[in-house]
Symmetry: C2
DNA sequence: CGTGCCTTTGAAAGAGCTCAATCCTGGTGG
DNA sequence: CCACCAGGATTGAGCTCTTTCAAAGGCACG
């Protein structure tokens, strides 16, 4: 059996109780281990329509945040791992559903100081939020480019590289994929079947290896990066 | 001849010199007409790689903000009209190109107070920024859902409704489309040809009318909204 | 060691894309 | 005021990448 969450339990290099992702920032966040919550795999953090609980930071494990269309079509806004912060509401209610992909631990920051009285917002904290959100916005724009213009192999290459970058949990080019093929598909605007076939094709091209359903290994990062950036010169001619 | 920009010159209901989009906020923004710049149609505000000039607010006209892939594939992040603010950089350089679609007027806010010294950031201003960006992020998520999962008629319905909402410039359900078909395509992840064909189909379904290449009129808003939300029950069976 | 869910594979169909030609329209110059 | 031009818009035909539908395979978990 493969224990997928185990490898996430390595020592933390960031402050593990706050959203600043920096070592030793306890004076800013004031968080301790007693603020920690947990959920089991497949349990739900919040549903669309739920009241905003506050700012959520994932301490351990992975969650997915999903939007639905009436007829069931889904889009996964993103996957959130250790250290990531979920900040997804303008009007006090979530328009997303968040579900644990693995067992998770998380912290909630209530946002009294960010309510309707802007004077209560500390400038330092606000500045941090701004750069967080600015980064998120840039990520969103890149992802829109991916969805609007990239082919399936380009999408998966981009995704794998970006995911590996965020999930530095395994060694020697090995990357853990805690989410299902269907989840990847819903994040990348594809179908489960196309994700499978494209991964297979990448394996045949010797760009990656599929060591296990949930563990892929990079064999040719340069090629991956070429694909991710839309240069497909290594693809066999049709 | 059709003067496309004329209809944008109606009296402003918002503060026209600042990014707060509120009437009479001069004490916050400190802007006057002397801060105004202009550009002609097709001229460029900034190129990818340009140094961040500051926060740009469009006072009049429309611009498009574009991202490019190496091989020329394009994605238009968004169209910005009167009152909109462009805030697109994390590292001091633009990773986008901004081009005027019509003649435009705009203001630049230099961001000395948002530099590396977070204490110089006024909490009120920061709070405003936060809600702006939060809104942008939500718009981005909706757009990703559109790109990932919606059909061409659903994309165009969503776009037309959203665009009309932001461009309340014409009466009786008429909407001005300052951008070309190709621009719409690059925003919606389609091709010029598919945009044309889909608009034609919507016209045949009597959901819209194309009064002029750049002016469409809503004939059945309910149907449009159904399409936009992914309910295609009005579509003729195949 | 069975069961159910997820993954993989196959075959056929289709939505949207590509390439190419033609049509408009607004702007230009006479 | 009119003819002409260039660039965008439209239309057509064929094609391709993905999707859809269906079935089989494999693995984790009880």
């Amino acid at each position: 059996m493969l224990n997928v969450t185990a490898s996430n339990d390595r020592p933390h290099t960031l402050c593990q109780y706050c959203f600043f992702r920096e070592p030793g920032c306890s004076k800013l966040c004031g968080k301790t281990s007693s603020d920690m919550h947990q959920l089991k795999k497949k349990e739900t953090l919040f549903y669309e329509g739920d009241r905003f609980k506050g700012l959520i930071q994932i301490l351990n494990g992975t969650i997915k945040v999903t939007k639905y269309l009436d007829d069931g079509r889904r889009f996964i806004v993103g996957f959130y791992h250790r250290g990531d912060v979920i900040w997804l509401t303008t009007d006090g209610r979530y328009s997303y559903t968040a579900e644990a992909i693995t067992d998770i631990k998380y912290t909630v920051f209530s946002l009294d100081w960010l309510s309707h009285d802007p004077h209560s917002l500390d400038a330092v904290v606000a500045s941090r939020f701004l750069s967080f959100m600015c980064g998120d916005l840039e990520v969103s724009h890149d992802h829109m480019m991916l969805l609007a213009r990239k082919s399936s192999i380009e999408r998966l290459s981009s995704f794998l590289l970006q995911h590996a970058e965020r999930m530095k949990t395994l060694d020697r080019g090995m990357v853990l994929l805690p989410m299902s093929r269907g989840d990847m598909a819903d994040h990348l605007g594809m179908t489960t079947e196309t994700v499978c076939r494209t991964l297979k094709k990448m394996k045949q091209l010797r760009v990656i290896n599929i060591d296990h359903v949930k563990i892929i290994r990079f064999l040719n990062i340069d090629a991956l990066q070429s694909f991710a950036e839309g240069r497909d010169e290594l693809l066999p001619a049709v």
